[in-house]
Symmetry: D3
Subunit: 157 residues, 6 copies
């Protein structure tokens, strides 16, 4: 069985992330979404909340699990024996930073392999940071995030 | 009448900005330079000062106005009924971040349209941040900014 | 009145071109689509046919005209007194070649000004060459080109 | 069982290709290398020769097969029911052309999914064209291609 | 003594090339401009003419020589014992192809080292191809090439 | 005699930096590594420690010196009469920021000239920041930095 993981901070999960999760879940037998600690000081959602929001938004996908982790990704790979990493690429700037990360991971742990999917064109502009910036100015984030994320963000205002 | 806006933080306005303002003022019937709040904690100039410095530096351009705003750009577009945004592009890195911004703005407000001008080659290296860095080290910023900006920055030292 | 031109070879015009034409026609008082000779040896359509196909596909846009030209673009600008050029940008590779062209045009004729629109995300992969390649292999080009282009291409097979 | 295909013209197969094949063969249950007709007029090797050279160079990889095809890739996907495409990315220029191809393929056949691996750093400069250019000038291609390709190319001189 | 070479096809030499030659001649004790055969079928100038045109345009630079060569650059490096290559970079697209070439050269001949200079901003749009395209349409190439090149091209019309 | 400088913050020096130093030391008669103050608040090593670590790691290179400086690079160039700057380029993102810096330096001090070397492919993913991030998580940095840096970092844990 081929299992893959999709790591990120997902603060919050966007429609772009759900698109990658949905497509990657068809490519691999099992997909684990791994919620990493957000390096930013004040995350919008706690790591536990982010796990739950992704679980809800992907509950219709049988082979998707959600986990959380706070250490180097290659340690997670070794512990769980999941050596395939999936990442979404939106643009050239993503490309370079993600490729550096993929190369350093292989240098430190040769068994790990990173595969990239291109973000669907309708989400090519979308990121968690952009969602948060629009949210801060009371802009309409409904078309950008899953319904459950939209509701909880609206309630918190 | 076709009015356009040119948003930015302009802290401070550079010769590169004035080049874009001058060229865009010939393309559109009216151009409004919109000074946005600088997200950095300690701006060099207050928003009011930045407005005045641009007004002085563009006083010879009859169809240019300067305004300030602190909210989402699409709200300014709706309030003032100015649906054309002008931005300068210097390099590939500008290209991607500006295109993301243009796409998200159209997603949130389909009437808005962003047009890009390429920065003149002689200013392709120039940014407000670079001006401030050279200024911090007492480097010569005279060739980089309009005269009025140069004088006020020199006096403040 | 601010008139702009949108030059290209349009062999054939795609939905991506029509998207740029539609959006640019709202920004300028008048838009002239200028069909340039295709430098490729065996164009799919003659220059006259390409003009007609664009006229049909944009007949609902009152301020859009279609013209053809075989010389340097800056000569057309001088002859017709249309000094604004509109171009669509899809990706970084477009960005560099188009910026070079815009810079050389301004070097040769300082009055000319090029403005760029980003191609809508749903057409970011689309080009006349890709349409022709799919067509050559009997792939379905219906979602990629205007209806009139689709019909004439289908009939010719 | 998850099968993937790795399409290309492979004229000739390089060490960079073999690196991608080796790594992709660990990610998927089965990998089919699909040798496409080379669009260039005078290929170095016939399509049949290219198939055989890849078969020899990957004979130690049990789950790798080699096939050939001359039509749209999405037709191969439908015929063989292999909906996962693997591609190697070396640099930004690859990134854009490959992403366009992946997007157009999904537009024409939504079931198809393209995954990208970054070429190992030691092969980031390598392509079939560069091998042929060095070969044409009698340069040493031994470090660039598999042994069997090296021998046959040397013999042909 | 540190000698470097600056290879290219220079068909014709432009003001951008002369800028790189001038600046590189200050960095190295001796600079050899190496005119390579143009791979295009119909060059504007013969290899001998191109050598002479560069010699004339750089006659004021004492430590610059002009040579011609038709084989792999690394063979020239070995024969002449000149292991430093200088190249100009204008844009991201140059960057990738030039870096590939530099890497393959070092792979084939580890003693060779390529150093890059950024083209001066006022020439960032300039290339021999653009000069030839403007020339073909009787555009004004005077500001783009050295005087001697301008005269000979004008006379040939 | 042609002297060049290689400026950076080197916090800490990596195998990628040593690769550039080694190769540049063959190109120029003398190479001065200039350790600039790290703009980050909490550097891993003091400026003096960074100087010493580079001196140790490059002690086998006779024509390499290490210096430190806290002001604009062009002032160092004037004071020491070293007008050649060497920089390593890893990727497109480096390219643009380094070219901006080179252009602004020439604008402020026309005598200064920046030359770029491409980082060897095996270090193309490597940076001081990545070393520090892996170190923070107790990852293995042994293959990424010189031995003396590895030892001192391990002892400090």
């Amino acid at each position: 069985m081929k299992a893959a993981m999709y790591p990120g901070s997902f603060d919050p999960v966007t429609n772009g992330h759900v698109d990658i999760i949905t497509r990657a879940s068809k490519v691999f037998d099992k997909l684990v979404v791994v919620v990493m600690k957000n390096s930013a000081k004040n995350p919008l959602f706690s790591q536990e909340e982010r796990v739950r929001l992704i679980e809800e938004a992907t509950s219709h996908l049988d082979n998707v699990q959600v986990d959380m982790y706070d250490d180097l990704l290659i340690r997670y790979a070794k512990e769980k024996n999941v050596n395939i990493v999936v990442k979404g690429l939106r643009a050239v700037s993503d490309f370079e930073s993600e490729f550096q990360m993929a190369q350093i991971n292989r240098k430190l742990y040769p068994n790990i392999e990173t595969l990239f999917l291109n973000t669907s064109t309708e989400y090519s502009y979308l990121s968690s940071s952009i969602v948060k910036e629009i949210y801060r100015y009371d802009g309409d984030i409904k078309p950008l995030v899953p319904d459950n994320v939209y509701k909880i963000m609206k309630d918190r205002k």
